[in-house]
Each structure stands twice: as C-alpha cells, then as structure tokens.
C-alpha cells in the first residue's frame, strides 16, 4: 500500500511531464477550441512514449511491471492536471479487454492499441445512468442494433467495444457479448457530447450494423465474466484519478488560505477554516487508503476486488464532491470565476461521479456484497 522505488520514479516522471507539458491550461484550450476528438494526440503520444499504455499489461504483451499501484500514481496525476486522454477507455478498459480475450485479437489489435494507433472506447451505458444489467443493444442475425450514450472517449475512438445482448431471452448481465465495431462501419453514427467539464463523450447509434463472429471479443454470451473484473479495476483507477483532483484542490486551497489576507491576517489562520481543512484532509486520506487497498489487492492477484471498487468509488465521490465545494467556497469570489481553475475541478468531479456508476449504484452494490 505504498509506492516502491520504481513506482515513485514513474510518479514523479509523469508529474513533471504534465506540470511542464499539460497544466490545466491545456484542458481549457481543448475546451475553448472544441477539439473534435476530445484530446490532444501529440500529448497522448508523448505519454505513450513514457510508457503509460503498457503499465498494467502482462509482461508477454510488453507490460512494464509497475502494477496497479503504479497505474494509480499515473491516474492521480491525470486527475491533478485534469488531463484529457484515452487512458481510461482505451487502455485501462480497452486494452485489458482485448488482452483478457487471449486470442487472435490480442495478437492483432493489442500492439496497435498500446501504440495509440488504434483507440478504443467501451460502449456500455444506454440510459441516464450506468447499468450494464439493463443492456438492450442486441446482435441478431449478424446485425447490431442499439444506442449507446455517455461513451467515454467516444469522439476520439477508432473502434468501439460494444456491450450487446447476443443470447435471446437473456436477462441482466447474462447473455452479453463484447463486439468490436470500427467507427467507420456502415450504420454507425457518432454524436459528440460536450460535457460540463470540457471533456468529451459520445452518443452512438448502431443501426443494422453488420457484424461477423470475428468481431466478438472473448467468449460469446459470457462477456460479463471478463468485463466485470476489468470494470472493477477501471473503477479503482477512476477513483485514483478523482482523489488526484481532490488532492490538487486541497493543496491549491491551502496555498490560497496562506496567501489571501482579510481583517489584516491570513485567512488560513481562522480556526473554522482550519478545522474544515483538517477534516477534508482526514476524509481524503481515508478514501485514499481504500483506493490503495484496492490497487494493492489487484497487484497481489486477488480476483475479487468488487467490494473494494464500490467502496473506493463511493468514498472518492463523497471526497471529491465535498472538496470541490469547499475549495470554491474558500476561494470566495474567485472560486466562482472561470478565470481560476477551481471550477474546472468542480465540474470534473460531477462528471466522474457518473462514470462507471454513481454513488447510489455503488452503495447498493456494496450493501449487497456485504449481505444486508
């Protein structure tokens, strides 16, 4: 549950790189220019050169052995800098799904994905909120029909990994398959969603898209067995990103409190603010401990991290939400201006809340896993 020497080096490398190359201003530029693919390809390629896309792959596939604790450190920095990248969708979820299929796809696709020449997006959500069990998109007679929304990295993806129902009369997460659909396949329409945080999602229509068996990744009808553990890992990675954002906010707020003067003293000397900051710090470290516990559990080969993933997501949501509200409040008038970065974190936190399941979803799942 602590970073080792190599992981610390990775952490500081990524931090220095992003500080230099992609401070929060980079997100502003992306937002204001309405960058069509939703991320800066040059930046992404440079990050790939630093190795981020192979961190958690098996060594056979060129994995770097930094493990999930190492990945967590990278995600933390992405959260601190609000960096828009295909990391979560194309690597943490996409590459992992391809790798898990352990068949010709691994050999054919994985190198391209890791190199960034192919860019994957996992198309799962269909309604207002994350709920894979309610998947209605279906493959029948070789034709894929359905609509996916809130697809992370959708606008920038070259291929979609579509979760769709393939077993007739199946329910919930049974009878699903994972289907690889190229963006330019006939019948695919991608609408970009500019979200409140300056990042990009997509709404995607699959209208009678022809699919052959080669496009099914992994075991047909049994996709959930593979997908579920990977989404748990991705949820932990996302939680690490969120806490990176929260930590950045705490540090920026402390700096502001140590700088701003009112009533002839630093406002950081006011006890009420001190206690609130101290409580935020406690909350952050508590949530961080769950994230580390979850990441370590993956590294130690524990298969069942479902409960830890839900636990981490709920605490990360609470922490980032509270921290961002408090950061705005303690920055006073400046906090509500677009000029200052605080509001961008505020917005990012609410977007992260919805990704891969909101608080209600994960609280419910945690309770169920604990048996009450």
């Amino acid at each position: 549950m602590v970073l080792n020497e190599e992981q610390r080096l990775l952490h500081s490398t990524i931090r220095d790189f992003l500080n230099q190359r992609a401070p929060v201003a980079a997100l502003r530029e992306l937002r204001d220019n309405r960058n069509p693919q939703g991320f800066d390809s040059d930046l992404w390629n440079e990050l790939i050169e630093l190795g981020v896309s192979s961190i958690v792959l098996n060594e056979d596939n060129g994995g770097l052995g930094f493990g999930w604790m190492g990945l967590g450190a990278v995600m933390e920095e992405i959260g601190r800098h609000l960096t828009a990248t295909p990391m979560l969708s194309s690597i943490v979820i996409g590459a992992a799904l391809i790798e898990a299929a352990d068949d010709h796809h691994s050999t054919d696709l994985l190198p391209d994905v890791v190199a960034g020449t192919r860019n994957l997006a996992f198309a799962c959500d269909e309604g207002l909120r994350y709920n894979p069990g309610a998947t209605a998109a279906a493959l029948e007679n070789g034709l894929l029909q359905g609509e996916k929304t809130f697809v992370i990295n959708g606008p920038g993806a070259t291929d979609f990994l579509v979760l769709a129902r393939t077993a007739a009369d199946s329910k919930g997460t049974d009878g699903l398959s994972l289907i690889l659909v190229p963006r330019d396949a006939a019948g695919v329409t991608v609408n970009r969603i500019h979200s409140v945080d300056g990042h990009s999602f997509a709404q995607i229509k699959f209208d009678q898209v022809a699919v052959d068996n080669q496009q099914i990744i992994g075991v047909p009808d049994r996709a959930w067995d593979t997908v579920a553990p990977i989404l748990d890992r991705a949820t932990l990675a996302l939680a690490a990103e969120m806490l990176g954002g929260a930590r950045e906010l705490l540090e920026r707020t402390l700096a502001y409190l140590n700088d701003r003067e009112q009533f002839d003293v630093k406002i950081g000397s006011f006890q009420a603010l001190q206690h609130r900051c101290a409580q935020l710090f406690c909350q952050l470290e508590l949530a961080q401990s769950v994230v580390y516990k979850g990441l370590s559990a993956i590294d130690q080969g524990q298969q069942d991290v479902a409960k830890l993933a839900s636990h981490a997501k709920v605490l990360a949501i609470d922490c980032y939400q509270k921290m961002s509200n408090e950061a705005v409040q303690m920055h006073g008038g400046m906090g509500i201006t677009d000029e200052v970065d605080i509001g961008l974190f505020l917005k990012r936190s609410r977007v992260c809340n919805q990704m891969l399941g909101d608080s209600s979803f994960h609280r419910e799942r945690f309770a169920k896993l604990c048996g009450y």
Binding site: D125, G127, L128, R129, T149, F150, N191, I193, H194, S195, V196, D197, F201, Q203, E261, Q262, F263, D264, F270, A272, L273, Q321, N325, V328, Q329, G332, G333, G335, I336, T337, D338, E339, G343, L346, K347, R350, V351, N353, Q354, D358, S359, S360, R363, E364
Partner: protein, 396 residues
Amino acid sequence: MSPIDEFRQQARAWLEENCPASQRRPVVKDEQIWAGRDRVFATPDAKLWFERMRDKGWTAPTWPTEYGGGGLSSEEEKVLEKEMARLNCRPALYDLGLWMLGPALLVHGNEAQKQEHLSKIVRGDIRWAQGYSEPAAGSDLASLKTRAVDMGDHFLVNGTKIWTTQADKADWIFALVRTDASGTKHQGISFILIDMRSAGVSTTPIELISGESEFCQTFFDDVKVPRENIVGGLDNGWTVAKELLKHERKLMATMESIVQREDESLVELAAEYIGMDESGKLNDSNIRSRITDQLMTAEALEYLNERLFFQYRSKQVDSGLPLTIKYLGTNAIQQKDELLLEILGNHGLSWQEQSHTPREHNIVQNWAYNKAHTIAGGTSEIQLNIIAKRALGLPA
C-alpha cells in the same frame, strides 16, 4: 370585513383583472423585467404588466406615494405578496435600486436625493448597480481602497470595484469609497452615487463557472462626482451601508422567491428520471432519502420565514432569527442543486448541447451559478460569525 380582508379582496380582484395570463407563469431569466434607461420587454404582455404595476406604485408597494410608491403597510404588502404568489404573478420589476438603495435612501437620503432618485426607481427608469467589494476587500469590506478625493464642488474617484452586478447594463451605481484614510478602517468611508455615463467609468465582464457573465469589474479613472451625490454625510458611509444590509433579508427573500418560481420539483423530476416501484416509492433509496432531507429543510425554511413575518407583525422579533435566513437559505438551494444534478444522471453533464433539453441545461447552469450564493452578499462564514456574536453572545 376587516380592512385587511377588504384589501385582500381588492388586491385579488385587481390582480386577476390586470395580470396578463402570460405573466402568471414562472419567469425564465430572459423574460425578467429589469429597470433601466434602455429597458426592453420580452413581450407586449410584460410591458403591460410592468406599466400597470408601476402606475399603481406596486413596484415598490410600501414606499410613500409622494415618491411614486404604493403607500401600503407592511401587512398589506405581505397580503399583496401572497395574492401574487397565489396567481403565480411574475415580479413586475427587477432592480437593485428597488431592493437595496431605495430603502437606504428613505432613511439616510436628504429630501433632494429622495426626490431625484426614488420615483425613478419605482418607475424602473434607472437601473442601479452596487459597488462594494474590491479585489482585496471581500469579506473584509472595510479595507476598501477606492478613493474619492474632495475637490470642493466635486469628488475625484479612482479605484476599482468587483462583483458589480451587470454593471455593463446599469445606469447608475451606488458605491462605498474612502474619503479619509487617516482613521480606522471603518471610518472615512462615504456612500456615493455615480452616474455610469461619467467620463472615466469603464466595465469588464467576469466570466463565471456557469458560463454566464452577470458580474463585472468596474474601473474608476479620475471620475468627477458632484458633491451632492454623497448620501448620509461625508465619512458616514459605513452607517448607510449597514442600513442597507438590513434590507438584505428582504432581497434574499425576493431572490428565493425568484428561485422558487424557476423551481424544479424534486419529487416530479425524480419520478420522471428515476421512476417508482409498484408501491409508489422512488427506485433509488439513496436519492429518496436525500430528497426527504431536502424537502424537510426547504419546507421548514418556509415556515421559518412565515414565523418571522408573524414576529414582525406582532413586534416580537427574536433578534437572532433573521440572521439565520441567509445561511440556511443559501445552503438549502445548493443542497437541492446537487440533488437535481444527481437525479439527471449523465443528462446532468450537458454543456449547451443539443442532446440535452433546455430544462436539463438550466439545472446544470443553475447548479454552477448558485455556488455564488454562499459567497456573495456576506459569505456563510461571515453569517456564522455574526450569529455567534449577535444572536448567541459569544466573545469576539
């Protein structure tokens, strides 16, 4: 029939007759009737409604009739408000002059100032802005540095004010300026009225996290202001400012009613976006429980307001009670905003996007905009300080 019941009957009849149907729906931002030289009306009905209310003096119901006000008692005003709420009548006029400057002028202005400004406010001819905060003087307002130097018949004003609400659209601004820097911070401040058309006044909009630019930074560069524009006496501005803060409660109540009018029903929204089970319970028990929290707070706040009204009427005001309103009210709004956003799920993440409805976009924008509520007009922290000292008698 008691006189107040008679008034109720008359007011009801008048409103029913005079308030156009289109003005009996919750007002959207673009259709608010703001005062000003260049005021514009979104619809002919809006103009009609404004003019009828103005001519009756009911844009400022309790102000004396000699200045164009309605001359109502505060009890009658309350009745009028209730009757307007009953019919869902939109406010007939929006202006900081109406809400803040006017009441202060009635107490501290001299006759010439009242004559000059009050009826223009009632009639909505002038739109006022407020010039209090400065970049380095927020909660610690008294540390303000904008100077007005006495040049005999006029003052020369230099400095900058921040958070001046739509100063780019305002005709005049009331401001606090330093006229004497020799004493303690609270001394040597004057309350001054400045025509925004004066040479040397300029404004820059401030972009907010909601994407709007409702506020400006206003700059004063050697602006000449006539001596008679000082209100309440030279170096006595802090007294006037305090008077004005008293009316903040009223302003907040008005703002709340504005918010309420634009209000989303949590229960309806949740029923629509989350759905209910066969027994009529919302499908998400977590959100259901938080809706209970929110409704209980919001409805209790209404009762608190009502209780305060009865206290005022019976002249038995618990001095601490009015102090709680802003703190509680602004928190409640933000608590609700968070819940609304969450209920929308990924539809609560839109940013001027076709894939989402205007209603959804409105919820998101309000969520971001309303973060200002606990900061503007006295932060929550300042409110708690005041409650601790004034209502609870804790030591400074």
